[in-house]
Protein backbone atom coordinates (compact mmCIF):
# COMPACT_ATOMS: atom_id res chain seq x y z
CA UNK A 1 0.00 0.00 0.00
CA UNK A 2 2.57 2.53 1.00
CA UNK A 3 5.66 2.41 -1.17
CA UNK A 4 7.75 5.26 0.14
CA UNK A 5 11.37 4.64 -0.79
CA UNK A 6 13.91 5.01 1.97
CA UNK A 7 15.07 8.60 2.09
CA UNK A 8 18.67 8.92 0.88
CA UNK A 9 19.32 11.50 3.56
CA UNK A 10 17.49 13.71 5.99
CA UNK A 11 15.58 16.72 4.71
CA UNK A 12 17.63 19.32 6.50
CA UNK A 13 19.79 20.04 3.47
CA UNK A 14 23.09 19.07 5.08
CA UNK A 15 23.20 15.28 4.93
CA UNK A 16 25.71 13.67 2.61
CA UNK A 17 24.37 11.90 -0.48
CA UNK A 18 23.76 8.21 0.11
CA UNK A 19 25.20 7.09 -3.19
CA UNK A 20 26.80 3.81 -4.11
CA UNK A 21 28.48 5.33 -7.17
CA UNK A 22 32.20 6.02 -7.39
CA UNK A 23 32.73 9.76 -6.75
CA UNK A 24 33.75 10.66 -10.33
CA UNK A 25 30.73 8.77 -11.71
CA UNK A 26 28.44 10.60 -9.28
CA UNK A 27 29.94 13.95 -10.26
CA UNK A 28 29.69 13.29 -13.98
CA UNK A 29 26.09 12.16 -13.48
CA UNK A 30 25.21 15.39 -11.66
CA UNK A 31 26.46 17.52 -14.54
CA UNK A 32 24.95 15.17 -17.11
CA UNK A 33 21.56 15.26 -15.41
CA UNK A 34 21.59 19.08 -15.34
CA UNK A 35 22.16 19.13 -19.10
CA UNK A 36 19.66 16.36 -19.85
CA UNK A 37 16.77 17.77 -17.81
CA UNK A 38 17.23 21.32 -19.11
CA UNK A 39 17.39 19.97 -22.68
CA UNK A 40 14.05 18.24 -22.09
CA UNK A 41 12.53 21.49 -20.82
CA UNK A 42 13.85 23.48 -23.80
CA UNK A 43 12.49 20.84 -26.17
CA UNK A 44 9.00 21.63 -24.85
CA UNK A 45 9.30 25.02 -26.57
CA UNK A 46 9.51 23.49 -30.04
CA UNK A 47 6.54 24.78 -32.09
CA UNK A 48 5.51 27.07 -29.18
CA UNK A 49 8.19 29.78 -29.11
CA UNK A 50 7.16 33.41 -29.74
CA UNK A 51 8.84 33.42 -33.15
CA UNK A 52 10.35 30.89 -35.56
CA UNK A 53 13.95 31.98 -34.94
CA UNK A 54 13.42 31.48 -31.23
CA UNK A 55 11.97 28.03 -31.80
CA UNK A 56 15.16 27.17 -33.66
CA UNK A 57 17.40 28.82 -31.06
CA UNK A 58 15.90 27.02 -28.06
CA UNK A 59 15.97 23.70 -29.92
CA UNK A 60 19.63 24.23 -30.81
CA UNK A 61 20.56 25.06 -27.23
CA UNK A 62 18.68 21.94 -26.13
CA UNK A 63 20.58 19.90 -28.71
CA UNK A 64 23.92 21.15 -27.39
CA UNK A 65 22.82 20.16 -23.90
CA UNK A 66 21.71 16.69 -25.06
CA UNK A 67 25.17 16.24 -26.56
CA UNK A 68 26.82 17.24 -23.31
CA UNK A 69 24.48 14.96 -21.35
CA UNK A 70 25.31 12.01 -23.61
CA UNK A 71 29.05 12.26 -23.06
CA UNK A 72 28.72 12.96 -19.32
CA UNK A 73 26.29 10.10 -18.69
CA UNK A 74 28.29 7.73 -20.89
CA UNK A 75 31.34 8.57 -18.82
CA UNK A 76 29.41 8.15 -15.54
CA UNK A 77 28.39 4.67 -16.71
CA UNK A 78 31.95 3.77 -17.72
CA UNK A 79 33.39 4.87 -14.38
CA UNK A 80 30.65 3.01 -12.53
CA UNK A 81 31.61 -0.14 -14.42
CA UNK A 82 28.24 -1.88 -14.12
CA UNK A 83 27.54 -1.85 -17.84
CA UNK A 84 24.99 0.98 -17.81
CA UNK A 85 25.08 3.17 -20.94
CA UNK A 86 23.72 6.66 -21.57
CA UNK A 87 20.23 5.34 -22.42
CA UNK A 88 20.02 3.19 -19.29
CA UNK A 89 20.92 6.20 -17.18
CA UNK A 90 18.60 8.63 -18.95
CA UNK A 91 15.55 6.41 -19.30
CA UNK A 92 15.67 3.74 -16.62
CA UNK A 93 16.43 5.68 -13.46
CA UNK A 94 13.73 6.80 -11.05
CA UNK A 95 13.22 10.36 -9.91
CA UNK A 96 15.16 9.93 -6.68
CA UNK A 97 18.20 8.75 -8.64
CA UNK A 98 18.41 11.95 -10.70
CA UNK A 99 21.08 14.32 -9.42
CA UNK A 100 20.17 17.50 -11.30
CA UNK A 101 19.71 20.91 -9.72
CA UNK A 102 16.11 21.90 -9.14
CA UNK A 103 16.47 25.03 -11.30
CA UNK A 104 16.63 22.98 -14.51
CA UNK A 105 13.47 20.98 -13.79
CA UNK A 106 11.23 23.97 -13.00
CA UNK A 107 8.37 24.41 -15.47
CA UNK A 108 9.06 26.67 -18.44
CA UNK A 109 6.44 29.24 -17.50
CA UNK A 110 6.18 32.02 -20.04
CA UNK A 111 9.07 32.96 -22.31
CA UNK A 112 10.51 35.35 -19.71
CA UNK A 113 10.70 32.61 -17.06
CA UNK A 114 12.57 30.39 -19.50
CA UNK A 115 14.95 33.23 -20.39
CA UNK A 116 15.53 34.05 -16.70
CA UNK A 117 16.54 30.43 -16.17
CA UNK A 118 18.74 30.49 -19.28
CA UNK A 119 20.58 33.52 -17.94
CA UNK A 120 21.06 32.08 -14.46
CA UNK A 121 22.01 28.58 -15.56
CA UNK A 122 24.13 29.45 -18.61
CA UNK A 123 26.21 31.91 -16.55
CA UNK A 124 26.71 29.16 -13.95
CA UNK A 125 27.52 26.49 -16.54
CA UNK A 126 29.98 28.74 -18.34
CA UNK A 127 31.99 29.34 -15.16
CA UNK A 128 31.79 25.67 -14.27
CA UNK A 129 33.00 24.38 -17.63
CA UNK A 130 35.72 27.03 -17.85
CA UNK A 131 37.16 25.80 -14.56
CA UNK A 132 36.55 22.15 -15.41
CA UNK A 133 38.74 22.53 -18.52
CA UNK A 134 41.64 22.34 -16.05
CA UNK A 135 40.34 19.21 -14.30
CA UNK A 136 42.85 16.52 -13.36
CA UNK A 137 40.38 14.10 -14.94
CA UNK A 138 41.24 14.14 -18.66
CA UNK A 139 37.78 13.05 -19.83
CA UNK A 140 35.93 15.68 -17.82
CA UNK A 141 38.43 18.30 -19.01
CA UNK A 142 37.84 17.30 -22.66
CA UNK A 143 34.04 17.34 -22.30
CA UNK A 144 34.22 20.78 -20.66
CA UNK A 145 36.56 22.21 -23.31
CA UNK A 146 34.10 21.13 -25.98
CA UNK A 147 31.01 22.37 -24.13
CA UNK A 148 32.38 25.72 -22.98
CA UNK A 149 32.32 27.09 -26.53
CA UNK A 150 28.67 26.12 -26.88
CA UNK A 151 27.60 27.60 -23.55
CA UNK A 152 29.27 30.88 -24.51
CA UNK A 153 26.57 31.19 -27.19
CA UNK A 154 23.82 30.13 -24.78
CA UNK A 155 24.73 32.88 -22.31
CA UNK A 156 24.95 35.43 -25.07
CA UNK A 157 21.48 34.44 -26.30
CA UNK A 158 19.99 34.78 -22.81
CA UNK A 159 21.76 38.08 -22.18
CA UNK A 160 20.36 39.63 -25.36
CA UNK A 161 16.83 38.61 -24.49
CA UNK A 162 17.02 39.81 -20.89
CA UNK A 163 18.22 43.21 -22.15
CA UNK A 164 15.54 43.37 -24.81
CA UNK A 165 12.70 42.38 -22.50
CA UNK A 166 13.90 44.19 -19.37
CA UNK A 167 14.68 47.42 -21.15
CA UNK A 168 11.72 47.09 -23.51
CA UNK A 169 8.08 47.99 -22.97
CA UNK A 170 6.39 48.31 -19.61
CA UNK A 171 4.74 44.91 -20.16
CA UNK A 172 7.95 43.14 -21.21
CA UNK A 173 9.81 44.67 -18.26
CA UNK A 174 7.13 43.51 -15.86
CA UNK A 175 7.10 39.98 -17.32
CA UNK A 176 10.90 39.74 -17.26
CA UNK A 177 11.04 40.85 -13.63
CA UNK A 178 8.35 38.29 -12.78
CA UNK A 179 10.42 35.64 -14.58
CA UNK A 180 13.43 36.42 -12.42
CA UNK A 181 11.29 36.21 -9.28
CA UNK A 182 10.14 32.71 -10.22
CA UNK A 183 13.63 31.39 -10.94
CA UNK A 184 15.71 33.07 -8.23
CA UNK A 185 14.66 30.75 -5.35
CA UNK A 186 16.61 28.02 -7.18
CA UNK A 187 19.80 30.02 -7.77
CA UNK A 188 21.60 29.39 -4.47
CA UNK A 189 21.56 25.61 -4.90
CA UNK A 190 23.88 25.92 -7.92
CA UNK A 191 26.67 27.06 -5.60
CA UNK A 192 26.19 24.55 -2.78
CA UNK A 193 29.28 22.49 -2.04
CA UNK A 194 28.99 19.12 -0.30
CA UNK A 195 31.28 16.28 0.75
CA UNK A 196 31.56 14.98 -2.79
CA UNK A 197 32.59 18.28 -4.39
CA UNK A 198 34.87 19.05 -1.43
CA UNK A 199 36.70 15.74 -1.84
CA UNK A 200 36.91 15.87 -5.65
CA UNK A 201 37.92 19.54 -5.64
CA UNK A 202 40.83 18.73 -3.34
CA UNK A 203 42.02 16.21 -5.94
CA UNK A 204 41.67 18.82 -8.68
CA UNK A 205 38.95 16.76 -10.40
CA UNK A 206 35.81 18.76 -9.60
CA UNK A 207 35.09 22.46 -9.40
CA UNK A 208 34.13 23.87 -6.01
CA UNK A 209 30.64 25.24 -6.76
CA UNK A 210 30.97 27.99 -4.15
CA UNK A 211 34.03 29.36 -5.95
CA UNK A 212 31.88 30.09 -9.02
CA UNK A 213 29.65 32.55 -7.20
CA UNK A 214 31.64 35.83 -7.41
CA UNK A 215 32.05 35.70 -11.18
CA UNK A 216 28.41 34.65 -11.62
CA UNK A 217 27.26 37.55 -9.44
CA UNK A 218 29.31 40.01 -11.48
CA UNK A 219 28.07 38.67 -14.84
CA UNK A 220 24.41 38.53 -13.87
CA UNK A 221 24.37 41.83 -11.96
CA UNK A 222 25.81 43.63 -14.97
CA UNK A 223 23.09 42.23 -17.25
CA UNK A 224 20.28 43.01 -14.81
CA UNK A 225 21.54 46.57 -14.26
CA UNK A 226 21.69 47.28 -18.00
CA UNK A 227 18.25 45.73 -18.42
CA UNK A 228 16.86 48.01 -15.65
CA UNK A 229 15.81 44.93 -13.68
CA UNK A 230 16.01 44.34 -9.95
CA UNK A 231 17.79 41.37 -8.50
CA UNK A 232 15.18 39.33 -6.58
CA UNK A 233 15.51 38.50 -2.92
CA UNK A 234 13.66 35.21 -2.63
CA UNK A 235 11.87 34.28 0.57
CA UNK A 236 12.84 30.61 0.26
CA UNK A 237 15.57 28.58 -1.40
CA UNK A 238 14.98 25.24 -3.09
CA UNK A 239 17.63 22.66 -2.31
CA UNK A 240 18.27 18.93 -2.48
CA UNK A 241 18.50 18.10 -6.20
CA UNK A 242 22.01 16.74 -5.86
CA UNK A 243 20.64 14.23 -3.32
CA UNK A 244 17.70 13.22 -5.46
CA UNK A 245 15.13 15.51 -3.86
CA UNK A 246 13.10 17.19 -6.57
CA UNK A 247 10.16 19.50 -6.98
CA UNK A 248 6.73 18.28 -8.01
CA UNK A 249 7.43 19.24 -11.62
CA UNK A 250 10.16 16.59 -11.98
CA UNK A 251 7.94 13.51 -12.04
CA UNK A 252 5.85 14.84 -14.93
CA UNK A 253 9.00 15.72 -16.87
CA UNK A 254 10.41 12.21 -16.43
CA UNK A 255 7.11 10.60 -17.37
CA UNK A 256 7.16 12.38 -20.71
CA UNK A 257 10.88 11.84 -21.30
CA UNK A 258 10.99 8.16 -20.35
CA UNK A 259 7.67 6.62 -21.30
CA UNK A 260 8.49 5.80 -24.94
CA UNK A 261 11.72 4.02 -24.06
CA UNK A 262 10.01 2.07 -21.28
CA UNK A 263 6.94 1.19 -23.33
CA UNK A 264 9.03 -0.16 -26.22
CA UNK A 265 12.24 -1.51 -24.71
CA UNK A 266 14.96 -2.03 -27.29
CA UNK A 267 12.94 -0.49 -30.12
CA UNK A 268 14.94 1.07 -32.95
CA UNK A 269 14.22 2.63 -36.32
Amino acid sequence: MTRHPAAPGSWDGRAAPASALPPVAEYSMRLGDDALVLAQRLGEWVSRAPQLEEDVALANIGLDLVGQARTLLTYAGEVEGEGRDEDDLAYLREERDFRNLQIVERPNGDFAVTIARQLAFSAYQLGLYRSLCRSADATLAAIAAKAVKEVDYHLDHARQWVLRLGDGTRESHHRMQAGLEQIWPYVDEMFDADELTDALAREGVAVDPAALRPEWDATVSAVLARATLTRPEPAFHGRGGRRGLHTEAMGYLLAEMQHLHRSHPGASW
Binding site: E53, E54, V56, A57, A59, N60, I61, L63, D64, L65, V66, G67, Q68, R70, T71, A138, T139, A141, A142, I143, A145, K146, A147, K149, E150, Y153, D156, H157, Q160
Partner: protein, 160 residues
Protein backbone atom coordinates in the same frame (compact mmCIF):
# COMPACT_ATOMS: atom_id res chain seq x y z
CA UNK B 1 42.18 -3.36 -51.49
CA UNK B 2 44.31 -0.40 -50.40
CA UNK B 3 46.69 -1.02 -47.55
CA UNK B 4 48.83 2.06 -46.83
CA UNK B 5 47.70 4.59 -44.24
CA UNK B 6 47.81 7.41 -46.79
CA UNK B 7 45.64 5.46 -49.24
CA UNK B 8 43.16 4.49 -46.52
CA UNK B 9 43.00 8.09 -45.39
CA UNK B 10 42.16 9.10 -48.95
CA UNK B 11 39.34 6.56 -49.02
CA UNK B 12 37.61 8.05 -45.97
CA UNK B 13 38.66 11.71 -46.39
CA UNK B 14 35.96 12.57 -48.92
CA UNK B 15 33.02 11.28 -46.87
CA UNK B 16 30.55 14.17 -46.96
CA UNK B 17 29.03 15.93 -43.98
CA UNK B 18 25.31 15.02 -44.28
CA UNK B 19 24.26 18.45 -42.95
CA UNK B 20 26.39 20.46 -45.38
CA UNK B 21 26.84 18.01 -48.25
CA UNK B 22 29.47 20.02 -50.14
CA UNK B 23 32.04 19.67 -47.36
CA UNK B 24 34.05 16.54 -46.76
CA UNK B 25 35.03 15.51 -43.25
CA UNK B 26 38.58 16.43 -44.25
CA UNK B 27 37.52 19.95 -45.34
CA UNK B 28 35.78 20.37 -41.99
CA UNK B 29 38.70 19.16 -39.91
CA UNK B 30 36.45 16.49 -38.41
CA UNK B 31 38.76 13.70 -39.59
CA UNK B 32 41.56 13.67 -37.00
CA UNK B 33 43.56 10.50 -37.51
CA UNK B 34 43.78 7.27 -39.47
CA UNK B 35 45.86 4.36 -38.17
CA UNK B 36 46.42 0.78 -39.23
CA UNK B 37 47.36 -1.57 -36.43
CA UNK B 38 49.84 -4.43 -37.03
CA UNK B 39 46.97 -6.95 -37.42
CA UNK B 40 45.37 -4.78 -40.15
CA UNK B 41 42.68 -3.31 -37.87
CA UNK B 42 41.86 0.21 -39.09
CA UNK B 43 41.16 2.97 -36.55
CA UNK B 44 39.65 6.23 -37.78
CA UNK B 45 39.35 9.10 -35.31
CA UNK B 46 36.74 11.80 -35.82
CA UNK B 47 35.78 14.72 -33.61
CA UNK B 48 32.30 16.26 -33.33
CA UNK B 49 31.77 19.86 -34.38
CA UNK B 50 29.22 20.32 -31.57
CA UNK B 51 28.56 18.00 -28.62
CA UNK B 52 25.08 17.23 -29.87
CA UNK B 53 25.85 17.08 -33.59
CA UNK B 54 23.50 14.41 -34.96
CA UNK B 55 25.65 14.00 -38.09
CA UNK B 56 28.28 12.00 -36.22
CA UNK B 57 26.36 8.73 -36.40
CA UNK B 58 25.83 9.14 -40.16
CA UNK B 59 29.49 10.02 -40.69
CA UNK B 60 30.57 6.98 -38.69
CA UNK B 61 28.36 4.69 -40.82
CA UNK B 62 29.64 6.26 -44.05
CA UNK B 63 33.28 5.86 -43.03
CA UNK B 64 32.76 2.19 -42.15
CA UNK B 65 30.90 1.56 -45.42
CA UNK B 66 33.74 3.13 -47.44
CA UNK B 67 36.30 1.02 -45.64
CA UNK B 68 34.24 -2.16 -46.20
CA UNK B 69 34.01 -1.33 -49.91
CA UNK B 70 37.79 -1.10 -50.02
CA UNK B 71 38.38 -4.39 -48.25
CA UNK B 72 38.63 -3.24 -44.64
CA UNK B 73 35.74 -4.80 -42.76
CA UNK B 74 37.89 -4.88 -39.63
CA UNK B 75 37.65 -1.21 -38.80
CA UNK B 76 36.32 1.08 -36.13
CA UNK B 77 35.53 4.77 -35.81
CA UNK B 78 36.46 6.44 -32.55
CA UNK B 79 35.03 9.72 -31.36
CA UNK B 80 37.66 11.96 -29.78
CA UNK B 81 36.75 15.13 -27.86
CA UNK B 82 40.19 16.62 -27.19
CA UNK B 83 41.42 18.89 -28.51
CA UNK B 84 38.01 20.47 -29.08
CA UNK B 85 37.09 21.11 -32.72
CA UNK B 86 37.39 24.65 -34.01
CA UNK B 87 36.33 26.23 -37.30
CA UNK B 88 40.00 27.24 -37.68
CA UNK B 89 40.56 23.64 -38.79
CA UNK B 90 38.32 24.16 -41.81
CA UNK B 91 40.44 24.11 -44.97
CA UNK B 92 40.64 27.02 -47.41
CA UNK B 93 39.06 24.72 -49.96
CA UNK B 94 36.25 24.08 -47.48
CA UNK B 95 35.66 27.80 -46.93
CA UNK B 96 35.53 28.37 -50.69
CA UNK B 97 33.06 25.50 -51.19
CA UNK B 98 30.86 26.78 -48.37
CA UNK B 99 30.61 30.27 -49.87
CA UNK B 100 29.83 28.81 -53.31
CA UNK B 101 27.09 26.70 -51.67
CA UNK B 102 25.51 29.87 -50.24
CA UNK B 103 26.76 29.64 -46.65
CA UNK B 104 29.02 32.44 -45.39
CA UNK B 105 32.18 30.77 -44.09
CA UNK B 106 33.44 31.32 -40.52
CA UNK B 107 36.14 33.91 -39.96
CA UNK B 108 39.43 32.68 -38.53
CA UNK B 109 39.46 33.03 -34.75
CA UNK B 110 43.19 32.68 -34.26
CA UNK B 111 44.29 32.51 -30.65
CA UNK B 112 42.91 35.72 -29.21
CA UNK B 113 39.26 36.51 -28.45
CA UNK B 114 37.41 37.71 -31.52
CA UNK B 115 34.40 39.99 -31.22
CA UNK B 116 31.22 38.37 -32.49
CA UNK B 117 30.30 41.58 -34.28
CA UNK B 118 32.74 41.09 -37.17
CA UNK B 119 30.98 41.74 -40.44
CA UNK B 120 29.81 38.71 -42.39
CA UNK B 121 29.77 39.02 -46.17
CA UNK B 122 26.67 38.01 -48.09
CA UNK B 123 27.58 34.83 -49.99
CA UNK B 124 25.22 35.84 -52.81
CA UNK B 125 26.19 39.45 -53.64
CA UNK B 126 29.35 39.87 -51.54
CA UNK B 127 28.07 42.90 -49.63
CA UNK B 128 29.37 43.38 -46.07
CA UNK B 129 26.13 45.23 -45.23
CA UNK B 130 24.41 42.33 -43.48
CA UNK B 131 22.66 41.76 -40.18
CA UNK B 132 22.25 38.79 -37.87
CA UNK B 133 18.64 37.60 -37.70
CA UNK B 134 19.28 34.87 -35.15
CA UNK B 135 22.32 33.46 -33.41
CA UNK B 136 21.02 29.96 -34.06
CA UNK B 137 20.22 28.49 -37.44
CA UNK B 138 19.02 25.36 -39.19
CA UNK B 139 21.83 23.31 -37.62
CA UNK B 140 23.92 23.79 -34.46
CA UNK B 141 26.88 25.13 -36.45
CA UNK B 142 25.05 27.95 -38.26
CA UNK B 143 23.43 31.32 -37.53
CA UNK B 144 20.82 33.13 -39.63
CA UNK B 145 21.64 36.38 -41.43
CA UNK B 146 19.99 38.76 -43.87
CA UNK B 147 21.73 40.86 -46.50
CA UNK B 148 20.69 44.52 -46.47
CA UNK B 149 21.93 45.01 -50.04
CA UNK B 150 20.28 42.15 -51.94
CA UNK B 151 17.76 41.35 -49.15
CA UNK B 152 18.51 37.63 -49.27
CA UNK B 153 18.46 35.64 -46.04
CA UNK B 154 21.46 33.32 -45.67
CA UNK B 155 23.23 30.94 -43.30
CA UNK B 156 26.55 31.75 -41.67
CA UNK B 157 28.83 29.00 -40.37
CA UNK B 158 29.60 30.26 -36.85
CA UNK B 159 33.20 30.67 -35.78
CA UNK B 160 33.79 28.25 -32.91
Amino acid sequence: MVTGVAEIREVVADVLDPEVPVLTIDDLGVLRDVRVEPDGHVVVEITPTYSGCPAMDAIRDDVLARLRDHGHADAEVRLVLAPAWTTDWMSEEGRRKLAAYGIAPPHVRGTGPVPLSLSVRCPRCGSPDTRETSRFGSTACKSLWTCRSCLEPFDHFKAL
